[in-house]
Subunit: 122 residues, 2 copies
Amino acid sequence: MIIEIDFNSDEALYLQLRNQIIMGIATAQFQEGDSLPSVRQLADAIGINMHTVNKAYTVLKQEGYVKVDRRRGAVIAIDIDRMRTLEELKKELQVILAKGSCKNISKEEIHALIEEIYEDYR
Amino acid sequence: MIIEIDFNSDEALYLQLRNQIIMGIATAQFQEGDSLPSVRQLADAIGINMHTVNKAYTVLKQEGYVKVDRRRGAVIAIDIDRMRTLEELKKELQVILAKGSCKNISKEEIHALIEEIYEDYR
DNA sequence: ACTCTGTTATAATATGGATATAACAGGAGG
DNA sequence: CCTCCTGTTATATCCATATTATAACAGAGT
């Protein structure tokens, strides 16, 4: 999978990495049971520090996307926690939709966006 | 309008403030032309520093939600920039929906959430 | 033995968030 | 004219976080 880091972004590197991996899982570029590259390999490939990659992996573990095996490294393993996820989604959506509402984006346009994005997801 | 700040949150105070004001506009608690409290008043009421409130107002100005008048303070004035807003919404939604997709939240559940949230918005 | 994995520890640096004090300029109202 | 309230600007300080750097350790595979 191609991972692109924007060094000019104001978003932290480890969060960019986390988000891209989550999107990689959603687009089935990573499957349950797949191993992610080792922290050193990926750090080398991207050109960032090992610890930054490790931090991304640690967050992914805490959020229930991977499990870490000393042998195989970080392995995709989704822990489905629907209630927590739904609560979190709602909070984030409330802010995003408020922005849209203020800027005259209609509910229908949002629904259309959702459809468009979900085409790429499983 | 009631503004609630969570000092235990990991989200920056000025961002919490910004988000709540945007949601206040979306729920019509603030109307076009209304003045926000002065930076010192609001800082006092919430119990945070004047500069933190000022930062929130500055961000709101840059993002096109208010205009600042030396006499009246920050006044709600929406600058509608549909293209920019849509692009930004899409990027944020991509990440959020990816999380949901990974955690087995269906597209239909997302649509339902949108409906639920939009009930409170204009 | 050697090499790969994650993990841990420690340190240095840089950046950003939050606070504190202070001063300045412009408009409002006495 | 003077005072009060606006936003604005300028410093300075403190603390937390992000990032990098070196280094070492333990477990597993070849």
